[in-house]
Every structure is written in structure tokens, then in C-alpha cells.
Symmetry: C2
Subunit: 333 residues, 2 copies
DNA sequence: GATTTACTTGAAAACGTTTTCAATTTGCTG
DNA sequence: CAGCAAATTGAAAACGTTTTCAAGTAAATC
């Protein structure tokens, strides 16, 4: 049934050398006489030999595979990061095992463990809340893990992010400077520290610098979905908000469409700023003003960082902050 | 450095049984006395033993990993399929190695081979053009491969799709019935058979049934991007088209926005129908009328089909067509 | 209670590589 | 051309499981 599997031993026999020598030429080891190398290469070609990566992994304890845990690839934000990760992974000869966690802590722990049992050489984790249990699992393994676009309060794990506090603070400040006295903060679950600790902090700081008292009626905790966004207009009006800082693009698109459907003009009657800078910002009308973040790069840099960790190379800074920007489009004045 | 790796041998010793017995309990083999099972389980717990999937893969020749080749996860269409694939993969205890091919034939062949060298148990392939070279590679391996949302002219490989011909024909017929004499067909690369052979065929058939002569000036071959869509309005007007059947949602969104920006009202002055039914159809204004296809399910069914193939189970139909629908939203009258 | 039959177990051989260590060649030096 | 260092090679032991086969043990039959 599978007699077509050619092994290193077959090649060795056919080329009348030892397995060791074949292994050397396959791995590009320099210590082999050119003539021998050619002979082996010819046989490899002739037999159509392909090294078995599993056996290789067992013998060398390296699988050239990394695990990627992501809440949901279907979300453009994470899809962009994943793409960045895969591209540099490919560049460094790694493959990625991609798993969706739905931000479910149990699932995260479960897939983390299957990933580890599969002996991945490293893991890049994207997730919004790192529970104690999860952090413990992280600590238990010696497999390097880096967080991408995901904050960890403790800062103990390597990570790649932007400065969420500063970005939100700056955008909210702009909103206030433009005359908005009541700026809503519409976010995903607050128990996710990226929202509850970082972005909210930026929001509060902006308020404070402007001498505006914090009013928790202006904070809307949602599930980050488009649908929810479309339903938010009445509540937003009820608290007299004239602008909103939103933490997710789909959510923001929902809000904008909800406003339009209620004949509230964006940006004239209501301004909205979003956070993730996915291509959705440009597709929606009016185009959404946004914090810009180098999504692809966050993934790419995270993966690059991981390669260093996997090779025990020194890393200058294990918590890297990439630059963000502010892009004015049409949903703000 | 890695003395923390507990092997099956360690638990065997600690539980005073043989490796074989430990292997049996780990694999849920029924032939082990309950008392022994418990003893082993306790030791496993105590030692925090985790089976090494690589060794397992080598010994059993099964990796419980499948390869997924996708043009670009960043495209919502493929992201949705990928999500469906991952979910049922998880359900059947598989993991997926996800690779982006950018629809580049060389890359596709390359990743196919690395996937095979990694001994994946199966592959689900998404790609728009199956070159002869690629088809040959497919044939060379005994690893099962199924196509998801991707047509193969030869129909030799298992696949899961919708009936693209019929869907397009039906939508174009509707457009014509509503009085559009000049319906444009805006698509991605025509050398991709899903466009050049299937969808275009549906378009032509609809024309024919309505007694309208085919005019290739109405066919716009593009690169499927949003950006390109935004630029298409002048060309569309130049050929007096009053409606367009578009093969990609981002492309369609671009066209619609391009129209709006030129003060052409959709759907009053120009109707557009799109094909992929991603969530973008609902986010854009006006919402896009679309062929609906069960994206998630295409992925899910493809993966389910693959599990059967991997287990040598009989499959009733290897080329499955899932039902499509027509969803009228706001971009058509 | 002697056989048979059905369960449980263990020993050891795969699985296909990498890697260590020693042996063998080869190439230089003087 | 002896003597030694450097370059090439090969033998065999890992790597951590699964799996086959035979042996041992408990249960069932008459």
C-alpha cells in the first residue's frame, strides 16, 4: 500500500554510502566530499526521496512548526496578524498550526496543550484575557511563547503591541478639543485588559487632562460585534454622547450604520473613531477615522521575535511597542 | 535543560508496568484491567506526563494534522472557509497547518510538498486555478486531498462547492428580467476556471435565454481587489452598463463606492449583485444583494469529507454541491 | 479439577531520522 | 616517504511512541 515511501536508508544503499552521509547532504552539512554529494543528490532525485519531517522531528527535537492561537480568523484584525505571522514563519522555514480559541479560556488551555504535545518549537498567542490559569500553563513550559496584539498585565511574557493607552488618549483628546463634551467609550468586554486596563485608561486620562469628569454612563461594554453596534444608537443618544471612541472596526461600522439608519449624520451630528485599522475602515461610508496600527507588522515582528527566542538568540527588548498613528478619514470632523 | 520531559518509559517504571500497557491506557484501549488503568492514570497525573505526538506520529504513521492551503486568510471568503475547516477538524481531533499561497502556483506546489513531508494525514486545498503541474502533484501522493470552494475542471479530485453556473445564471436572469439590457460581468482573473469557465458560462447562458447577444466589452477581468473596484465606474459607464454581476464582495464594495463617489445611485441608476456572501455584504451601504453560499459549511463539509477519506470510509459523493441562495438586499431594485 | 477460552500483560521490533564517536582517507610538511 | 593533521565517512545509539506476538493469568466449561 505504501511501498512508495522511500527512506533515507534506501538512498544510502542505492548510493552505496551510509545513512549518516545522506543525512549530511540533505541537511547541507559542509563536511562531505563534492563527488559524494553529487552521487547522493542524484540518487535522491532518481528515487524521488523526501525526508520525513516527523522522524526528523523526533531525532532532532525540532519540528519547524509553531503554534498560533487566535480568537477567530474570521475577524479581519486577527486575520491580518495571522498573515504577518505566516509570512515571516515561511521566511524562516517554519509552518504554523493555526487554532481558533473563540477567546474561550478553557479552549485556549486545551489547544495550548495539544500544541505542546505536538512539540511545536514556539507559540504566538493572540487573546484578550490571560487568566491566571493560562499564565501558569505558559510558565510551565519551556517552549517560547510570544503575545501578538495582546497585552499581559504582568509583562512577563514577550509581546508585540502598540501603546494602546497613548493612542486612545490622543484620539479622545482630539475629540474633546473639537468640542465634544460627551465622548462615549464603546468597547469589547472590560475584563479583557486591553479594554479594561489599557484603552479605558487612555480614555480616562484624556478626560482628566481636559478637566472633564468621568461618567461611567458613557462607557458601553459590548461583545465587539457588528450587530451589537447597529443597535447602540438609541443608548448613545440617551446619554447625549456626541462622539464615540470605539475599540473594534466591525463594532464601529455597526454604530455608524445604526446612526445613518436613524438619520443621524456622521460626522456632523456624531463623530466616531475606531481602533483596529482593518481594511473595513475604507470600505464603509463614511470612511472611518481610526487609530492606525501596523497589523501585519505586529504579527510579523512577533514571529520574528519568536524565531530569536527559539534559537536562544539574545533579544534586545522582549516587550516591543510598534508605532501607531492617527488617520483622519470621514467619520470625524 | 529538558529533564522535564517525562516519557512513557518513566510512567511505566513508576507504575511498574510495561510501556505497552501505558500506551494502551493512554490510547483508551479496552484491554486493560481497571485496577491497572487506574494505577497508570494516577502516575500519569502525578508525573504530569504528556504523550509526544511526534513520536506517536512516527510509530503510528498518523499525525492527526491536516494541511490547509489557502490563497489568503486575509480575504474574508477564505477566512470563513478556514474557520469551518478548523472547527470540524477540532471536532475530529485534528489540527490544521495553515499556509497562504497567494494563488501562486509555484508556492502552492512548494507548500504542498512541505506539507507532505510533514506527513499530514490529509489536505484541503483552496485555490482558483489548478495547473497541470499541481494536478500532477496531487496525483503523485496517496494523501487524500479535497478542494473547498475551488473548482477543478477535471472533477477528478473530491471537492465541495456550490453550483456557480446556475447561481450566476439565475442572478443575471433576474437582472435582465428587471429590465437591464446591458449587464456587466465583473470578475477576477479569467484563467481561474471558477470565473472563466463556470461563472462566465452562467452569465452567457442567461444572456442567451433572454436572446441578448454576448458582448465581451461588458466583461471586466480584474484582480479581485477593493481598490480596483473603486476605479471601475468610468469604464462601466462607458459601455452603458446598468448593472453588474460581480464575483467578489470586496470588489463589489469597491464598485459600489466608486459609483456613489461619482453620484451614481445604487440601485436606482446601477444595480450590483455580488457572489461571496461574506459579512461585508451587510456592512456596506447600500447593503449588497448577493448569491448566498454557506461559506462556513463549505469548509466544514470539505473537512468532514476529508476525515472520511483519511479513514478509508466509503463516500457517497465525492464532488458535493451545497445549496446556494439569492439574497436581495439593497443594491438591486 | 482438568481443560479450554478469554483477558491482561510484557518484550522487543519497528517507525525514519539525527548525531556522536571512532575509523579511515587524504593531503601536507619536512 | 614517514608522520601528522585535517577531511570524510560509517556504525550504532538515540529520539518516544505503537504494535505484534507470545506468554501468563483468570474465568468458564464439563
Amino acid at each position: 500500500m505504501d511501498k512508495q515511501t522511500v527512506t533515507i536508508y534506501d538512498v544510502a544503499r542505492e548510493a552505496s554510502v551510509s545513512m549518516a552521509t545522506v543525512s549530511r547532504v540533505v541537511n547541507g552539512n559542509a563536511n562531505v566530499k563534492p563527488a559524494t554529494r553529487k552521487k547522493v543528490l542524484d540518487v535522491i532525485e532518481k528515487l524521488d526521496y523526501r525526508p520525513n519531517a516527523v522522524a526528523r522531528g523526533l531525532a532532532s527535537k525540532k519540528t519547524t512548526t509553531v503554534g498560533v492561537i487566535v480568537p477567530d480568523v474570521t475577524n479581519m484584525y486577527f486575520a491580518s496578524l495571522a498573515r504577518g505571522i505566516d509570512d515571516v514563519a515561511t521566511m524562516y522555514k517554519y509552518n504554523i498550526i493555526l487554532t481558533n480559541s473563540d477567546s474561550n479560556s478553557e479552549k485556549e488551555i486545551k489547544v495550548l496543550n495539544t500544541l505542546l504535545s505536538k512539540q511545536v518549537d514556539g507559540i504566538v498567542f493572540m487573546g484578550n484575557e490571560i487568566t491566571d490559569k493560562l499564565r501558569e500553563e505558559f510558565k510551565r513550559t519551556k517552549t517560547p511563547i510570544v503575545l501578538a496584539g495582546s497585552v499581559d498585565d504582568e509583562g512577563t511574557d514577550p509581546s508585540v503591541n502598540i501603546d494602546y493607552v497613548a493612542a486612545v488618549q490622543e484620539e479622545v483628546k482630539n475629540l474633546i478639543d473639537r468640542g465634544n463634551k460627551r465622548v462615549a467609550f464603546v468597547c469589547g468586554p472590560l475584563n479583557q485588559s486591553i479594554n479594561g486596563k489599557y484603552r479605558l485608561k487612555g480614555y480616562k486620562q484624556a478626560l482628566k487632562s481636559a478637566g472633564i469628569p468621568y461618567d461611567d454612563k458613557l462607557v458601553f461594554e459590548t461583545d465587539d460585534t457588528y450587530k451589537t453596534g447597529t443597535l447602540l444608537q438609541p443608548a448613545l443618544m440617551a446619554v447625549n454622547a456626541t462622539a464615540a471612541m470605539v475599540t473594534d472596526d466591525e463594532l464601529a461600522a455597526g454604530i455608524m450604520n445604526g446612526m445613518s439608519d436613524a438619520d443621524i449624520s456622521v460626522p456632523n451630528d456624531f463623530e466616531v473613531i475606531t481602533s483596529n485599522d482593518t481594511k473595513l475602515t475604507e470600505m464603509v461610508r463614511p470612511k472611518m477615522s481610526s487609530i492606525t496600527q501596523p497589523l501585519y507588522d505586529i504579527g510579523a515582528v512577533a514571529m520574528r521575535l519568536l524565531t530569536k527566542l527559539m534559537n536562544n538568540e539574545p533579544v534586545e527588548e522582549k516587550n516591543v511597542l510598534l508605532p501607531y498613528g492617527l488617520m483622519k478619514r470621514e467619520s470625524t470632523k
